[in-house]
């Protein structure tokens, strides 16, 4: 049984489970690094999953569908930005409301558009890729063959994001408005603009995560199909200490747990305790029992421009 669980197939499946989490988690990094808490990631994934399904179904073009999923996530993020940056509404309240809007909205539209309760018709996703040379290696090669192109794009986006956040002026500024907006403002950095950018990027990435879920993983949109993945992504972001590669590693850990869980379910073992792992680990990290996670200093605090 041990070999049935820990095989190359499990690793492949873990990578597939990691991908939607990783997109959303990276979105969380961008948003929270700029100082805006984003618990609406769950909703952003859900609208992404839904609009990817709509565009894939009606236009038969998966690339367009994935792009539009990102746009749909960005649109939800725009509401979050206006409400929590301009109007300074509590970011958690805004997030809770947006999650409700996403759940209600996608279910409403899904019933209207797909005419059937519960789910969309079968969706055609992207053509899978195999990485040349690596995919021919016996055993481990399985991991590199028949990959969704979106997985490879995910890895590239992570490398790019790390570079942008830590090696460019833009990244420095984005992080500075999340750490000390007053100081950043004094230096002439437009705090609102950078926070908008952070939140909108998180919406786009959250949407991509959702698109992977409906288009590449399940190949169907099911109502409320994210079932808490946005929150696992949030947990992974904290576990990864608000850094791109940290959250990617955490997402892989949680993705692996999910893959193992599905195998165990196959043999009829109770799997709810494996489901709890991401949440318990995150609480332990926050409590300082496993490493120490410190949020960006101004995370969650609306910025009030000083009036002179």
């Amino acid at each position: 049984m041990f070999y049935a669980i820990f095989s190359w197939e499990t690793i492949s499946s873990a990578i597939r489970m990691t991908t939607p989490l990783a997109f959303a988690s990276l979105g969380g990094v961008f948003s929270e690094r700029s100082g805006v808490v984003n618990i609406a990631l769950e909703g952003m994934m859900l609208v992404g999953a839904f609009f990817a399904a709509v565009f894939a179904h009606f236009f038969k073009n998966p690339w367009l569908a994935i792009f539009m999923a990102g746009i749909a996530g960005t649109f939800l993020a725009l509401i979050h930005a206006v409400v929590s940056i301009n109007f300074k509404v509590n970011q958690i309240v805004s997030g809770v409301a947006l999650n409700m809007l996403a759940t209600g909205g996608t279910t409403f539209l899904s019933r209207l558009i797909f005419q059937a309760a519960g789910s969309s018709p079968h969706l055609e996703g992207l053509k899978p890729w195999s990485i040349p040379i690596l995919s021919y290696i016996p055993g481990i090669g399985k991991i590199f063959s028949d990959l969704s192109p979106l997985i490879i794009i995910m890895f590239l986006i992570f490398i790019l994001s790390h570079f942008v956040l830590y090696k460019t002026v833009f990244g420095l500024r984005l992080r500075s408005v999340g750490e000390n907006p007053q100081a950043a403002d004094t230096l002439g950095i437009n705090v609102y603009l950078y926070r908008y950018i952070g939140v909108l990027i998180s919406g786009f990435l959250g949407g991509l995560g959702g698109a992977f879920l409906s288009l590449e993983h399940a190949r169907v949109f099911v109502e409320t199909m994210t079932v808490g993945r946005g929150f696992i992504a949030l947990a992974a972001m904290i576990f990864g200490k608000w850094t791109p590669f940290g959250s990617l590693s955490a997402c892989f850990l949680f993705g692996l747990a999910e893959a193992v869980r599905m195998r165990l379910e196959g043999v009829g073992l109770p799997t709810q305790f494996i489901q709890m792992i991401p949440y318990i680990l995150t609480m332990l990290v926050l409590a300082g029992a496993v490493g120490r996670a410190v949020a960006p200093a101004a995370d969650g605090i609306p910025y009030e421009k000083e009036e002179i």
Binding site: A97, L112, F231, M283
Partner: protein, 363 residues
């Protein structure tokens, strides 16, 4: 002068939600129009369905019962400066604990059995709120993330227990649930009561004695927060933690107590379904009540009177959603969309108002 500003504030507290609700209804009306229905006809039909007959009233009160308690739980924490998004998990754990305790006790007279079961619901909620409370008080970990995590742990844990440990045996019901509670551990339905005062709510209506418990809690929370020393300390910590610590209040003690009270009330929010309606614990029965509680508390300005009205509003909206299914082909989720829009516009309205208010004071 002071009275004047009080009236102004009261006026705004009523006006701003009213504007939000009207805006949301107009937006919903536009959607209904584009789906080929006459918005006025649809609204008249569904509002009449929810509010124009005793059966509808019963359902609205039934829906409002859980929301009052969930809203109070969130509001008490809010007043103490804590954001309890964990009401959902606290409801589930409270509900499961009350059902398990109710089933495992031997035959008892109802006046012993029922209080024990009610207390178990509160203890379940308290247990689940205690962990984030302690982490906040002792280690300074922000309660928002921890309460979210506790929600998902509660989903998984209660699911495990109801599937593998306390599932009803013999009957194959598709969703996991416990066996039915004995008569001495459940709350009576209120049809007979309303009939006796001339309101013809049928006996089958789910509105039950939890409604009275929720009313009692509204009054108790008011007294706790505004008429006791503990309540004063909770509000002091909520509005200025460092000042209240300098004033001699034990900060971490108050944080833990606030979370415990909040959790206890959230745990009680389970009784409407578990003890009053189904008479058993059904897997994931709460369906987001804890999150709607946040909306209810926000809309009710964290005040018991406000929470009563916002619970009735959300309860009526939920009933209207069923009406949508009955009278139209419009998916009922249009009502959830309206609810979300109401929350966003009210939250924005509150901020705009405080800003105008503050600017006036500065001048």
């Amino acid at each position: 002068m002071k009275d004047n500003s009080f009236i102004k504030e009261l006026f705004w507290n009523v006006l701003s939600p009213t504007i939000s609700i009207i805006l949301a209804l107009i937006l919903g009306g536009i959607v209904i129009f584009f789906l080929g229905h006459n918005p006025f006809d649809v609204y008249v039909q569904v509002i009449n369905f929810a509010l124009g007959n005793p059966t509808g009233w019963g359902y609205v009160l039934f829906n409002a019962t859980s929301l009052i308690l969930a809203g109070l739980a969130v509001a008490v924490a809010f007043k103490g400066g804590l954001f309890n998004i964990g009401a959902e998990g606290q409801i589930l754990v409270g509900g499961l604990l009350s059902a398990v305790v109710g089933l495992s006790l031997p035959n008892l007279p109802w006046f012993i059995h029922l209080p024990i079961v009610l207390l178990s619901a509160m203890i379940g909620g308290m247990l689940w709120a205690l962990i984030p409370g302690l982490l906040k008080a002792k280690l300074g970990v922000h309660e928002v993330i921890n309460t979210i995590m506790m929600n998902w742990i509660a989903y998984a844990l209660t699911n495990y227990l109801v599937v593998n440990v306390v599932r009803e045996t013999g009957v194959i019901y598709p969703l996991p649930q416990t066996a039915e509670l004995p008569k001495s551990a459940v709350l009576p339905r209120l049809g007979f009561f309303f009939q006796s005062i001339g309101i013809n709510i049928p006996d089958s209506n789910p509105v039950n004695a939890s409604l009275f418990i929720s009313f009692i809690m509204l009054i108790l929370v008011y007294f706790l927060l505004w008429r006791t020393t503990l309540g004063y300390e909770i509000r002091a910590v909520g509005s200025n933690p460092s000042a209240s610590e300098n004033g001699g209040i034990n900060l971490s003690k108050i944080i833990v107590i606030t979370m415990l009270i909040s959790g206890a009330i959230a745990g009680l929010a389970s009784i409407n379904d578990v003890l009053g309606y189904r008479h058993r614990f059904l897997d994931n029965f709460s369906h987001g009540t804890g999150f709607t509680g946040i909306a209810v508390a926000l809309l009710g300005k964290n005040h018991p009177v406000g929470i009563l009205f916002s619970s009735l509003l959300f309860g009526a909206l939920d009933r209207m959603a069923i009406g949508m299914d009955v009278f139209t082909h419009i998916p009922r989720e249009i009502i959830s969309i309206l609810q979300a829009l109401i929350i966003i516009t009210v939250a924005v309205g509150n901020e705009v108002f405080t800003r105008i208010f503050l600017r006036r004071r500065k001048l």
